[in-house]
Amino acid sequence: MEESISSILDRYNHDVYRLMDILIDVQSDQGFIGDQAIARIAEDLGISKADVEQTRSFYHFFSKKPTGKYSIYLNTSVNACMMGRDAVARTFEVEAGIPFNSVTRDGLIGLFDTSCIGMSDQEPAAIINGKIFPNLTPFRVKELIRDIRAGKSMEELVVEGYGDGQNSNPDIRAVVSNNIRKIGPVLDPDYKPGEVIRKKLPAMTPQQVIDEMKRSNIRGRGGAGFPTGMKWEICRKTESDEKYIICNADEGEPGTFKDRVILTERPKLLLEGMVVAAYAIGARQGILYIRHEYKYLKIYLEKLIEGAHKRNLMGKNIAGIEGFDFDVRIQFGAGSYVCGEESALIESAEGKRGEPRDKPPFPVEKGYLDKPTVVNNVETFCSAVKVLLNGADWYRSFGTTDSTGTKVLSISGDCRYPGVYEVEWGFSVNDICGMAGADDVIAVQVGGPSGSLVGPSDFDRILCYADLSTGGSLIIFNHTRDLLQDVVLNFTSFFIEESCGSCSTCRIMPVILRNKLLKILNARGAKSDISEMLEWAAILKASRCGLGQTAANPIITSIQNFRHLYDQKVRGEVRYDSGFDLTQATQEAIAATGRYTAVD
């Protein structure tokens, strides 16, 4: 063990800012990160054990105890549950002989829950030792556990063949399907990556690149919609010896998986976008921050970066531009939704807990290692390349006035064609449902749990930043779904699970709201509970980051748009019910003292 930790530490130059990578390697090497390993790492990096421990304890895929020779992480997302997760989970438990979140006594199999893993179009899906197993059924689970017990290797566990496109690339070999349903101008496969770097950049000054971006009116594709040109310009103007480009590929919003497909099928376009941004702001170093769930793309992407160096699309004097040096390293996360928030992502890339920072200062002024940093979404970088290739006017010819260009959507749920669609901004929810082959729709979750749950009366609303804004996740629900039980409760639990715990509002209020929701679902609800939920949810706005601020959105938007579902479940004549149950509350003490038992 000592030896392997030493070589891991050597691999990252004993750099304290690479603590994430060190822990990721220790975890995958030894199956857990024990106290001994923590002490060793702390001593070597010259930090306290608590510093290492707090990073370790923050992330879902780091574990203090062994997680089994085969660590099975089964997704708990709404989509997984809709596609039969319950039966799959029960089969896992019965076959492995253990409940979830435990390891078999022989240390062979570990079963764990995990939040959305970006496979919403092929659920239920599990990650086993880093490999994705989508479209699980109870039958398939029996097979898997039988094969694991028979001592088969990870490769031998795969019987379904590898997925389409690059998924069957020898460097990936994933069972994942792309499900690309509609390709638009940004994801156009005919484009030869590198063309913009070679032909456009040498003829443009950085300021011209920024001006073109500004004229295109392109806005951030992660969901918040900040104007990209402006972000680049502020960063360019902030004086500093170092600047950084970070690509946010930590898509953790349940129902989103478009970045997975872009990383698989258009990674060169993405990397080119990062180079363009680096040229514009004057950065020499970039970080591609990818969620842990997509670690199966690691070797593939690393080789592409290597290839870019060989072709002079990265490295020194890129495309012959004197003094334009840029390199990208990949940083994996370790299972944390909040790291999709840019300042939390930066903290995480620095090897710390992924807790959002106080703002201002914004990352464009003080980001990675406190240097000016541009953080953009995968899709934003891809679009930037096309803006330069075809010009801002071309780009503005797509979409609406305030939302120019196209948006790559991840569509899942009750529809015939779940998958990835690149569409212009400006389609209505109805259009989208029609496009995905959904004809029995009672509700659509636009923008994932942090977005809104909309009903038929809103289906003619338009997808754009001014109306229904979305980072791309659309989940469709048909009449068989109980929106409160299946959707709102699941989303609220998701936020509770993923809160970093930094702000007391976000740490506590979602739990209180879930208890209230459960009370209503358990037929103990009173009318006052509904208004109280709305009233109390407002306090979440005081949270530091978007996760906390939107954690009550599933409840708020479902009350706003599906009030009748709540009204049906509360008892009209009861004005107040605390939900307190004396019988249940005294059970434990009665059992402990043996009261009310037969006296002989």
Binding site: L582, E588, A589, I590, T593, G594
Partner: protein
């Protein structure tokens, strides 16, 4: 006009809030002019003799008996007020909330240094006359509807005085920062 009636109770509390009420000093004479007291440890009236206007609750619920008393207050009082930290949040007694009831009982009656060698038959008190511990300490509003919350440990005498007189005179409560600060 008939005087308004006040009732008070101390549940899982330390009587500190009641002490604070007495701490309004000579204003207690004014208070008695203004109100009648019904069920309360102050006058030792054990059962509600009539409907009351204001109920003041000190302490949270740690026993089934607390729950019965609290529900009784809710049924007999027009306005119910949680007074002090324990009633509002559970307070010190709620420190046991992270520990199982069995462990609490075993520590108190079997394993604690003062009982270790004296409870030969290893009995956890189980007489039917004894109230039953709840699985955790509940703040009052998790059991019944509470209309007002007066914070503090204990709440300042001035805070109680101002809140009570405001309620009695149907005025908006005027609670300046001074009556809330505790350092």
């Amino acid at each position: 006009m008939e005087k308004p009636v006040i009732a008070t109770a101390s549940l899982a509390g330390c009587f500190g809030c009641h002490m604070s009420l007495l701490d309004i000093d000579e204003r207690i004479l004014d208070l008695i002019e203004l109100v009648d007291f019904n069920k309360s440890p102050i006058n030792d009236i054990k059962e509600f003799a009539r409907e009351c206007d204001i109920g003041l609750i000190e302490g949270g619920c740690c026993l089934d008996e607390n729950v019965h008393v609290l529900k009784d207050f809710r049924n007999h009082c027009r306005i119910l007020v949680s007074v002090g930290e324990c009633a509002i949040m559970g307070g010190l007694p709620a420190m046991r909330n992270g520990i199982s009831v069995r462990e609490c009982l075993e520590e108190a009656y079997l394993n604690g240094p003062s009982v270790r060698n004296y409870n030969e038959n290893k009995i956890l008190p189980n007489d039917e006359e004894l109230p039953v511990l709840l699985n955790r300490v509940y703040p009052c509003h998790e059991v019944v509807k509470i209309d007002y919350f007066l914070p503090g440990c204990p709440p300042d005498a001035d805070l109680l005085w101002r809140a009570l007189t405001a309620l009695l005179n149907n005025r908006k409560m005027d609670l300046p920062y001074e009556v809330f600060k505790f350092d």
